[in-house]
């Protein structure tokens, strides 16, 4: 009997599990590899919810197009629009599916899915399961995958570390090499397609809200094998996290969605108990500066405001560390327990203080990688995606695909809250039919029947790297300390506020650290469950992505979404004189158009193995569906700028009558 083709999925979070179960349904044999039992993947940490248009918002004027519009506007127009449009239109059926799979979504009294409001939108689109939505969604998919495992369609390889893709002479991916984290066996896995679903790379920043597996090493290993990386410099810093020594724990945006208010005492370092500070002495800075969105401004804006209130304005609530209050104490306890129980428990458990009684202390933390492996798509005439097309989610290495947080496709310069769970499940489900179709007529035979030499030599390369590390003499660099230093540099220079001189200096420092990491010595040279060598390898593989983030940030001289360089900010209007104000607005719009002409482009990084550094180029963004417009949340003079902007759009539309849909400024 001829061997059946197989698909290897690397990573068992929402994206990987969704792809696995959909492929299984399409009668494709799947191998699913993960560093951890898939039920323990980082998706469990997502708290707040998952967005879709729903019957109620629809009757308030909402529709899929508006969800799409909010997503690209929130992302500062940096994402290609067709995939985002497709995702927004898939959102209601994705939630229906998760509902059928038994996710314990919160319910209305009548038994419908309850919804809450999240940042960056005016509609209650977000379905949620207590404050552990990610966990509940992941479990539902984990259960389905287990069902297929019992049926013999899916094989799991848990506690395995992806080491490299295997490329044939034509450069097509034919499988991967991986290492068993228990026995340390290194093995080749022939596969007709490899799908990477390995999540974000927060550990490059040392401490973040991400789990310990989120090192970015699998992505880096594909990047070093030639896959292009997109928009690396766009890293979301979540506005509200609980500072901790080992990790920065997320305090979900849903805390604000359910009415949480962010404030600081007007008097710097007011040492009174926060509950004793009267209303008029509290500075609700988000509500004052952004009356329309209030505490629910998009994440990049909330983050910068909290950062600036503490760092620039010196209003931190603690004298010796940075923090603001996130206050829920005005909401009845029973309501808090019902809607936010899970996240409040986290605060209580790790801080030893009950946030139902005392305002929480929070500060921004690295949270999500908008950037990731570059992936392709096939557009339809009306701006959606062609279903089951082989190009959808394909990386630049033929046969290698990427889905979920590790691709760069859906969130542009800034991700909206409750859109990540959606993009993970959507991209997982969406990639499957294209792979299944291609397996029907594979050219060049099934991977498992290719000459063994290809797989053996790939395995040997990894065995050599492994053996070389184990054989080193002691006295070299300590990988754990180098990781701390890398994290400190990245957090200081490449998070909320970025300056070119600091970024340039950071690159030099990171290159030096990279060379030191080459000389790591292991404190464990054994060959059984050696976590020391696994960590050292992942540390070494952090540097290519760290350089991608830093060089991308250094070169991009503008502000867009999460990437903020004060030197290049377009300032608000200063004049009170109407004519002068109008002139300033015209200038502002000119500058905005010019900025988009120059920078409304995807950053594309390629690994240069000779220089052991990266090359950067830029690609145009498909903004053909929604013309880019200024993001004016809270800017002084926003109304005048908006007026000028509208007039220009109309003027552009009128003379020819067809240019209305043309992208502005490109």
């Amino acid at each position: 009997m001829a061997a059946r083709p197989r698909v290897m999925i690397v990573g068992g979070g929402l994206a990987g599990l969704a792809a696995a179960m959909k492929l299984a349904e399409l009668e494709v044999d799947v191998d699913l590899m993960s560093l951890t039992p898939v039920k323990r993947s980082h998706s469990v940490c997502a708290q707040g919810g998952i967005n879709s248009v729903n019957d109620q918002t629809r009757q308030l004027g909402d529709d899929e197009w508006k969800h799409f519009d909010d997503t690209v506007y929130g992302g500062d127009f940096l994402q290609h629009q067709p995939p985002v449009k497709e995702m927004a239109y898939w959102a209601p059926p994705v939630i229906d599916l998760m509902d059928r799979l038994g996710v314990t979504f919160n319910r209305t009294p009548e038994g419908f899915l309850d919804r809450r409001r999240f940042g960056g939108t005016l509609y209650k689109r977000t379905a949620f399961a207590g404050a552990t939505t990610g966990q509940q969604l992941l479990y539902a998919l984990d259960e389905q995958v287990r069902r297929w495992e019992v049926a013999g369609r899916i094989r799991k390889f848990e506690f395995w570390d992806f080491l490299a893709p295997i490329l044939d002479e034509q450069g097509r991916c034919r499988g991967c090499v991986a290492q068993d984290l228990v026995t340390m066996e290194i093995r080749s896995f022939p596969a007709d397609f490899v799908v990477l679903a390995t999540g974000g790379c927060g550990l490059i920043f040392g401490r973040s809200t991400m789990s310990m597996v989120c090192t970015g090493s699998a992505v880096s290993r594909c990047f070093q094998a030639g896959a292009k990386y997109g928009n690396g410099e766009f890293v979301q810093v979540h506005p509200t996290a609980i500072p901790g020594a080992d990790k920065l724990r997320l305090m979900s945006e849903s805390a604000r969605g359910e009415g949480g208010r962010v404030w600081v005492p007007r008097k710097p370092h007011d040492s009174r108990d926060p509950r004793q500070i009267p209303e008029e002495e509290r500075y609700y800075f988000l509500e004052e500066r952004y009356p329309e969105y209030g505490n629910l401004v998009p994440r990049d804006i909330a983050t910068r405001e909290i950062f600036s209130v503490c760092v620039q304005e010196g209003l931190s609530v603690d004298p010796d560390r940075q923090a603001v209050y996130l206050d829920l104490t005005h909401i009845p306890r029973a309501e808090l327990d019902r809607k936010l129980g899970g996240i409040l428990e986290i605060y209580e458990k790790f801080q030893g203080v009950d946030p139902r009684d005392v305002p929480m202390k929070i500060f921004p933390a690295v949270h999500y990688s908008m950037g990731g492996l570059w992936v392709d798509y096939e557009r339809t005439a009306d701006g959606g995606l062609v279903p089951a097309h082989p190009k959808n989610q394909a990386t630049s290495i033929p046969g290698l695909y990427a889905i979920g947080e590790c691709d760069y496709q859906y969130h542009g310069a800034n991700r909206l809250g409750a859109n990540s769970l959606l993009s993970c499940i959507f991209s997982g489900l969406f990639v499957a039919p294209g792979l299944a179709d291609q397996l029907e007529n594979l050219t060049g035979g099934v991977a498992s029947e290719l000459p063994a030499g290809l797989f053996e030599s790939a395995r040997r390369r990894e065995e050599e790297r492994h053996a070389e590390l184990l054989s080193r003499d002691g006295g070299g660099e300590n990988p754990y300390l180098l990781h701390q230093q890398l994290g400190d540099i990245m957090t200081r220079t490449a998070t909320v506020v970025r300056h070119n001189d600091q970024l340039a200096e950071a690159i030099e420092q990171v290159l030096e650290l990279r060379d030191r990491a080459d000389r790591c010595a292991l404190s464990d040279t054994g060959n059984w469950t050696n976590q020391n060598v696994v960590f050292t390898k992942s540390l070494q593989d952090m540097f290519p992505i760290a350089l991608t983030i830093l060089r991308g940030a250094l070169m991009r001289d503008e502000c867009r979404g999460a990437h903020y360089k004060p030197e290049f900010e377009l300032p608000g209007l200063t004049s009170d004189d109407p004519a002068e104000r109008r002139r300033q607005a015209e200038q502002w719009v000119d500058a905005f158009v010019e900025k988009n002409r120059k920078w409304l482009k995807s950053t594309i990084a390629c690994w240069n193995a000779d220089r052991r550094d990266i090359d950067i180029s830029y690609e145009d963004v498909d903004t053909s569906l929604i013309p880019p417009r200024p993001r004016l949340y809270g800017l002084v003079g926003a109304e005048t700028i908006e007026e000028v902007w509208r007039e220009r759009q109309q003027a552009m539309a009128e003379p020819t009558g067809e240019a209305a849909g043309a992208p502005a400024g490109t």
């Binding site: 993947s41 038994g111 069902r147 020594a245």
Partner: protein
């Protein structure tokens, strides 16, 4: 919940005693480390410090201690171990609290005793996941095509299901259970990997399924679609390794970090299996 912890009086550093084991089948041994005190440490940050230093209290260089962890938010279940004699997650075990409990100078870390040790504090919990297969812990949907929304669910039912659905498969309930005893198999010579896995599964299936899986069965038997397979799940509960092994010690519910009402699930499962067996007897 405790008030904000204060630093235990006059402590600049403390001892950590770890029960280590190099590999399955090897002897275990205690190793002592000294860690500098910092405010707001948890056991994960203690283990991170020990890994970075890799030197014992008497200055001997040793391999870093192996342990399992991931989310560090007590929601993935990975870092479960026995800390000062109590099974729990290392991430939510705060040093200040631990030092106030027993010995103000020492913290004791051991691997869970009901699962085979892989190395040091890492254990093999595959039996726990096998139980979820046996329990058929999933909703048997027709497929993943667009078929409209799921069944309507009242808030009361959701509020009953959600706590059960928070089980993170950490194994605390099994560690605390007197009837759940360790099953450790070693590969026989000449046995293929596949054969070994198969033998493991068969042996696990003869042993107690555990409170976590009983509770999952009640969760899925409650779901409007899940209950279509209720009988098959109850069959598993009356098979060898089923609910009859439970000795009603109630330790499981006491140690569950997610406060899942495990004994309520077990009581309901007991009633359901009794009814199921009688029904089957009449249906013969």
């Amino acid at each position: 919940m405790a008030e904000p912890q204060s630093k235990p009086a006059s402590i600049d550093s403390f001892e950590v005693r770890i029960l280590r084991q190099e590999a399955p089948g090897r002897a275990s041994y205690w190793e002592r480390h000294r860690v500098d005190y910092e405010p707001q440490m948890n056991v994960i940050s203690v283990l991170q410090k020990i890994a970075a230093k890799a030197t014992t209290i008497d200055g001997r260089s040793v391999t870093p201690v192996a342990w399992d962890c991931n989310c560090l938010e007590e929601i993935c279940g990975a870092c479960t171990m026995v800390i000062n004699g109590r099974v729990r997650q290392a991430c939510s075990a705060l040093v200040d609290n631990l030092l106030q409990q027993e010995d103000p100078n020492e913290i004791r870390l051991e691997p869970m005793s009901k699962f085979p040790v892989v190395r040091d504090l890492m254990v093999d919990r595959s039996r726990l996941f096998r139980a979820l297969e046996k329990a058929r812990a999933w909703v048997p949907v027709d497929g993943y095509y667009e078929l409209g929304p799921g069944p309507r669910v009242s808030p009361e039912v959701q509020e009953q299901a959600y706590p059960l659905s928070k089980c993170m498969s950490c194994g605390c309930c099994l560690e605390a259970c007197p009837q759940y005893t360790k099953v450790e198999l070693t590969r026989l010579s000449g046995e293929t990997d596949e054969e070994f896995q198969q033998r493991k599964r068969a042996t696990y299936d003869q042993s107690f399924i555990g409170a976590h899986a009983i509770s999952q069965i009640m969760l899925f038997n409650m779901h409007p679609t899940g209950k279509h397979e209720a009988a098959a799940r109850l069959d598993q509960l009356t098979a060898p390794g089923g609910i009859q092994i439970c000795g009603n010690a109630q330790n499981c519910v006491a140690v569950c970090p997610k406060e899942i009402p495990l004994t309520t699930s077990i009581a309901r499962a007991g009633r359901a299996t009794t009814a199921h067996v009688i029904k089957k007897w009449f249906d013969r």
